[in-house]
């Protein structure tokens, strides 16, 4: 049997992923995290009497802390597996990816383990985040003169 023919056979037996269902779940859970973030911003700016911008930073720190803590408790992986993009696209997922890698590699040493491998998943997010920020920054500069 030729390779192409075999690959067709494999395709026939490959189950469809429930994209619509996953999308809806991700939308709802991601949305809840967004609402939680907005609530935290309102809460901090009102009760700590700080600007919305500073409250945003406080909100990010809070969510990262909660994300890391839940990873360490050991059940966040099951939630991620269910909610998928709803949990790993928001900042909670970023914290979770670093924390889970750190947990896996801490036994390989502080430098050779945590230091070298903590960014295994998050590293590419940071690299391409910085690169795309740079690219879009230039586009903005060229189109709007950087005054917006």
């Amino acid at each position: 049997m030729k390779n192409e023919e075999y690959q067709k056979l494999v395709k026939k037996y490959t189950p469809k992923e429930s994209r619509l269902f996953n999308g809806i779940v991700a939308f709802i859970i991601g949305g809840i995290i967004g609402v939680l973030g907005q609530f935290l911003i309102e809460f901090y700016s009102k009760y700590l009497e700080i600007s919305t911008k500073d409250a945003g930073t406080f909100m990010i720190i809070t969510l990262i802390f909660i994300g890391c803590l839940l990873t360490c408790f050991g059940f966040f992986d099951k939630w991620v597996n269910f909610a998928k993009a709803g949990l790993f696209i928001p900042i909670t997922g970023f914290a979770h990816s670093m924390m889970s890698a750190a947990l896996d590699y801490k036994k390989e040493g502080l430098v050779t383990g945590i230091g070298a491998s903590m960014l295994k998943l998050a590293g590419s997010v940071i690299i391409f985040g910085v690169v795309s920020a740079y690219v879009f920054g230039i586009i903005r500069l060229l189109l709007f003169g950087g005054n917006i």
Binding site: M1, Y6, L9, V10, Y13, T14, G74
Partner: protein, 329 residues
């Protein structure tokens, strides 16, 4: 290449498993189980060595033998540089061969050992394999606590150690013949569909075995594939029919037998070097000893990739080795 054996027998076998396997349908057949993944050790890698070593110790105890009475230790696993096997061997102080055919390692070990016994080079040997879900996840996929979403065709690495003592002394189960497989590559790149990767190797080895031994597929009471999983099993059936015009009958897959696929969160079934031998040594041997099965063909399948070759988008080659077991009673 197929060998026929006249005086190689399965003396005894021992199995140790983790929590998911124990919660599966074959739980009562295993010799020992653990409720968590560390087994009192600090790391998963150490835990895998522990489970493998323990399966050897249990095997010696069950067969009432001292380690010094064993001529050879053959072992394989999934960890980089097969450290679980080699570290276990470092405790045993007997001659050791480390082998690798990924999830087909168990049968590779049995074939090497059987050939040496048949040729009177050794009297007996222990063939072992191990795998550990978390250690394998960490090495091959995402960090364990990350729980990255995976497609339905993914298989779930079995946690367990399986050891078997084979010797020239007569017993209830005979190793009758074996076929060394060829490496197949049908151009599949998806590492989350290992059933699709390995089905052609399974089919090819089965075909060669039947041809070399001049047998019809109905000769066997049961044909077991290593760890193709739910979808791989369907692919294997259709591929066998289309490519070799053979209807797979009396057939099952150990990946589907070790877990309850409807109730346990294991995607399309088990995988790992320990998957096929855990089912065979714990469950199938029992059925054979009870005369409920007489002739069994075990074809363990292995996917021969590394994380580097996958990242480099290379296609995944696969291997399958077959061993034919017969109840002598």
């Amino acid at each position: 290449m197929t060998f026929k054996y006249n005086n190689v027998y399965i003396s005894e076998a021992a199995t140790v498993v983790g929590p998911y396997e124990f919660n599966g349908p074959l739980s009562k057949y295993y010799d020992k189980h653990y409720k968590e993944f560390y087994f009192g050790k600090k790391t998963w890698e150490e835990a895998e060595v522990h489970i493998l070593k323990e399966s050897v110790e249990l095997l010696l105890k069950k067969s009432k033998k001292e380690i010094n009475n064993i001529d050879l230790f053959i072992s394989g696993d999934l960890m980089n540089q097969i450290t679980s096997s080699s570290f276990t061997a470092s405790y045993l102080h007997i001659p050791y061969l480390g082998i690798f055919s990924a999830c087909a390692s168990s049968v590779e070990g049995l074939i090497i050992g059987s050939n040496m016994i048949e040729n009177n080079q050794i009297k007996n040997c222990i063939c072992s394999v191990s795998s550990h879900n978390n250690a394998a996840e960490k090495q091959f996929r995402y960090p364990v606590e990350y729980g990255g979403p995976k497609p339905k065709t993914t298989t779930f690495t079995v946690t367990g150690g399986a050891s078997v003592l084979i010797s020239s002394e007569k017993s209830k189960i005979k190793i009758e013949s074996a076929t060394i497989g060829t490496v197949q590559d049908k151009g599949i790149k998806n590492v989350f569909a290992m059933g699709a990767v390995m089905a052609p190797a399974f089919a090819d080895t089965l075909y060669r075995h039947l041809k070399d031994m001049n047998r019809d597929i109905s000769y066997y009471d049961l044909i077991l594939s290593g760890d193709l999983g739910k979808y791989g099993k369907d692919i294997a059936k259709e591929y066998m029919k289309k490519a070799y015009n053979i209807n797979l009958i009396n057939y099952d897959d150990t990946a589907c037998m070790i877990y309850d696929l409807d109730k346990q969160p294991v995607y399309s079934g088990g995988s790992g070097p320990a998957c096929a031998p855990l089912v065979t040594y714990a469950y199938i041997f029992r059925l054979m000893k009870e005369r409920r099965l007489k002739k069994v063909l075990l074809i363990a399948t292995g996917s021969l990739h590394s994380t580097t070759t996958v990242n480099e988008k290379r296609t995944i080659p696969s291997i399958a080795h077959a061993i034919s077991l017969e109840a002598t009673i």
